[in-house]
């Protein structure tokens, strides 16, 4: 384990020709942290990862790894290892050849190479695949080998670029656990790019949600899930997605209230980030599992029910506005039923209707 493997991104800007991809981006990643860069395609997350790896030149700003300014260092001199979405195994080499390639390039002693390949292979349970060619492996095995190739490098920082995107759902879940275990065991810093919010929530110590060349929110999975910084984060994270009601704030400053046709929600107990402006247009966001029903005073008609195994999702209509609620699987509910909802203030998310920022 190298002495230091913290990563510091300082004011990094990257453009491809006239297209700005990253804009004055700052990010501090602590030693041994698992940071996930989450965002839709084209948000710049992979570009940022490539910049950390040294595969993309930055136009401005600096990248520091382990206390060294590595902005202009070659990829191999940065103390990083990388895992790619398409596995990127060298097709003409055996698994052993793939895993040892970096060490052979560096001219490591034979015995050393042998030992490190064996250790990594044992850790990933691919020892019996060592003499095979990548074309003889399944997708999951290939990605294990690709992770093994990264392990062998003995790097302090692991960069993973959508490593599970090409795998089917079951393998993805399996390898997700494996990666988390690996992180706990190695104590290395991991930076993980994905567009899958489940991966982000399950793996990360902290998530950086990115969109439009910028980090929209940086925080723990709980922060991002329960207290999204803006409407984009609120919609992007969470499945089934958060529901929204458009309305405005009541005019009584002593008892803040959300008002929409057919809906009145008292906001006492909501942690406003700043003083609310009476009459301000807002969007109320609430996750389906936080919507309560029974004794509430908001009337909602059930339009559709989606059974999801452990529970079911009911699509509702409140006046003209849609909303969804998550119910236990055994709840007797059908199309055409009327529910009486309650929206608890501490579970709400209020966003400025114009800017989309959290209030």
């Amino acid at each position: 384990m190298p002495a230091r493997s913290d990563v510091s991104i300082r004011g990094v800007e990257i453009s491809y020709g006239p297209v700005r991809v990253l804009e004055r981006l700052d990010l501090e990643i602590a030693q041994s942290e698992f940071l996930v860069l989450l965002g839709p395609s084209g948000c710049g997350k992979s570009t940022l990862l490539n910049a950390i790896a040294g595969l993309t030149d930055v136009d401005d700003g600096q990248i520091w790894i382990g206390g060294t300014n590595v902005t202009w260092h070659e990829p191999k001199d940065r103390g990083i290892a990388m895992v790619f979405q398409s596995y990127a195994l060298y097709p003409r080499m055996t698994v052993r050849g793939n895993m040892s390639f970096g060490l052979r390039v560096a001219g490591a002693p034979k015995a050393d190479i042998e030992r490190r390949v064996r250790e990594a292979a044992e850790m990933l349970r691919i020892t019996d695949l060592l003499e095979r060619k990548p074309s003889e492996l399944s997708g999951g095995q290939r990605q294990r080998v690709a992770i093994g190739r990264a392990l062998v490098r003995d790097a302090g920082v692991f960069l993973l670029d959508e490593p599970l995107s090409n795998l089917d759902a079951q393998l993805r879940a399996e390898l997700r656990v494996e990666i988390k275990r690996l992180h706990q065991r190695l104590g290395a810093t991991m930076i993980y790019v994905t567009h899958d919010q489940i991966e982000a929530l399950t793996l990360a110590d902290r998530i950086a949600v990115m969109k439009d060349r910028r980090i929209q929110q940086l925080g723990s999975p709980d922060d991002v899930y329960l207290r999204p910084a803006n409407k984009f984060v609120a919609t992007f994270v969470g499945s089934p997605a958060m529901g929204f009601l458009l309305g405005k704030l009541g005019t009584d400053p002593s008892a803040p209230m959300f008002e929409a046709p057919g809906v009145k929600v008292p906001l006492t107990g909501y942690a406003f980030a700043e003083r609310p402006v009476a009459g301000q247009g807002v969007e109320l966001g609430i996750r389906p599992e936080h919507v309560l029903h029974g004794d509430g005073d908001i009337a909602a008609d059930v339009e559709m029910v989606e059974p999801m195994g452990s529970d079911k999702l009911a699509w509702l209509r409140i006046g003209e506005q849609p909303l969804s609620i998550r119910l236990p699987a055994e709840t007797p509910v059908a199309r055409g039923d009327r529910l009486h909802l309650k929206l608890p203030a501490h579970r709400l998310n209020l966003f400025d209707a114009a800017s989309g920022q959290r209030l």
């Binding site: 490539n50 790896a53 040294g54 595969l55 070659e74 990829p75 191999k76 990083i80 290892a81 990388m82 790619f84 979405q85 398409s86 596995y87 990127a88 195994l89 060298y90 097709p91 003409r92 390639f101 970096g102 390039v105 560096a106 990548p134 074309s135 399944s138 997708g139 290939r142 190739r149 490098r153 670029d161 090409n166």
Partner: protein, 309 residues
């Protein structure tokens, strides 16, 4: 590189399984099929007849040729004309046959093929992975130049080569073939490498491999099929070249094609058709062999080098 195992094809349903194909069995020989085969046979005959005439004539003696039965098989087949064409026919003042030309062609061919493919492979690799500044413009220029007729370049090249002392030398003709092979070779290698995932290149860079190591250990082993294609294109192209050999090789190194022309077009005495035919067949032997033995590779070559065949 598909990750899924190949799907098993369902076996032919057995009779009585209730699973037989329904409807009438398609007819084997329809009128359309008959027409198609007739067309193929006629076309094949059309292209094979000249070859047959050449072969037959080359095996005849001169008196038999004078009888004028172009299509008849020789009464007493003899390889005398082949032997003469190879070893004693006169190409201008020398009467040593085509063997000198054959050796010259081989001496031109081998370094030219190796050099042009190497340069094309490295250029294609550089253009698709390292993308130096101006790579697009360079590639565009290469492709445009590929459409300019060769003849335009000859005079300027002769002047340049005479300054550089390369005129009338083996090195000169090799350089010419390398230069003119560059557009096609670069194109097919660039296209091949451009189809490979860029992540492979990036993985190799993270592993610390440099320009030549990535080329030699990762990319080149993956380019074997395209190297075969390139060899087919270059061997046939360079062997069949006439004008560059005539202009740049010098009298000592004239390739077989030029020597063949000298034999066929020599104006002294009687025209020895059998020797001419034998000499032509001998010259065509190398590309013919390539066509015969490369089969599907050759078709791929034509597709890959669609700019020029």
């Amino acid at each position: 590189m598909s990750t899924e195992p190949r799907g098993k094809r369902p076996g032919r349903p057995s009779i009585g399984s209730g699973n037989e194909p329904s409807g009438r069995r398609p007819q084997k020989m329809t009128t359309g099929r008959f027409g198609l085969y007739a067309f193929l046979v006629i076309t094949a005959a059309f292209f094979l007849t000249p070859l047959y005439v050449m072969l037959a004539t080359s095996l005849k003696s001169m008196p038999e040729i004078r009888e004028g039965n172009l299509l008849s098989w020789p009464i007493a087949p003899t390889v005398a004309a082949w032997v003469k064409a190879w070893s004693t026919a006169c190409t201008g003042l020398n009467c040593t046959g085509l063997q000198v030309g054959f050796m010259n062609s081989v001496r031109i061919l081998v370094p030219s093929v190796l050099l042009s493919i190497s340069v094309g492979a490295v250029t294609g690799y550089t253009l698709s992975f390292w993308r130096p500044r101006g790579a697009e413009i360079l590639f565009g220029a290469l492709m445009m130049v590929a459409f300019v007729p060769y003849q335009v370049f000859i005079y300027p090249l002769v002047r340049i080569f005479s300054y550089a002392g390369l005129n009338n030398s083996l090195a000169g003709i090799v350089v010419v073939h390398t230069i003119f092979g560059l557009p096609t070779m670069t194109l097919i290698f660039r296209n091949h490498f451009a189809a490979l995932p860029n992540e492979l290149f990036r993985a190799a860079r993270v592993d610390g491999a440099g320009f030549w190591r990535i080329f030699g250990q990762i990319m080149l082993p993956m380019a074997v099929p395209i190297i075969v294609v390139a060899m087919i294109l270059q061997v046939t192209g360079i062997w069949n070249d006439f004008i560059f050999g005539l202009v740049f090789a010098g009298r000592e190194n004239l390739p077989m094609t030029v020597q063949l022309n000298n034999i066929v077009n020599s104006t002294q005495g009687e025209r020895e058709y059998n020797v001419d035919m034998a000499a032509t067949m001998l010259t065509a032997l190398v590309p013919l062999a390539v066509y015969f033995f490369s089969g599907r590779w050759f078709v791929r070559g034509i597709a890959a080098g669609a700019v020029k065949g």
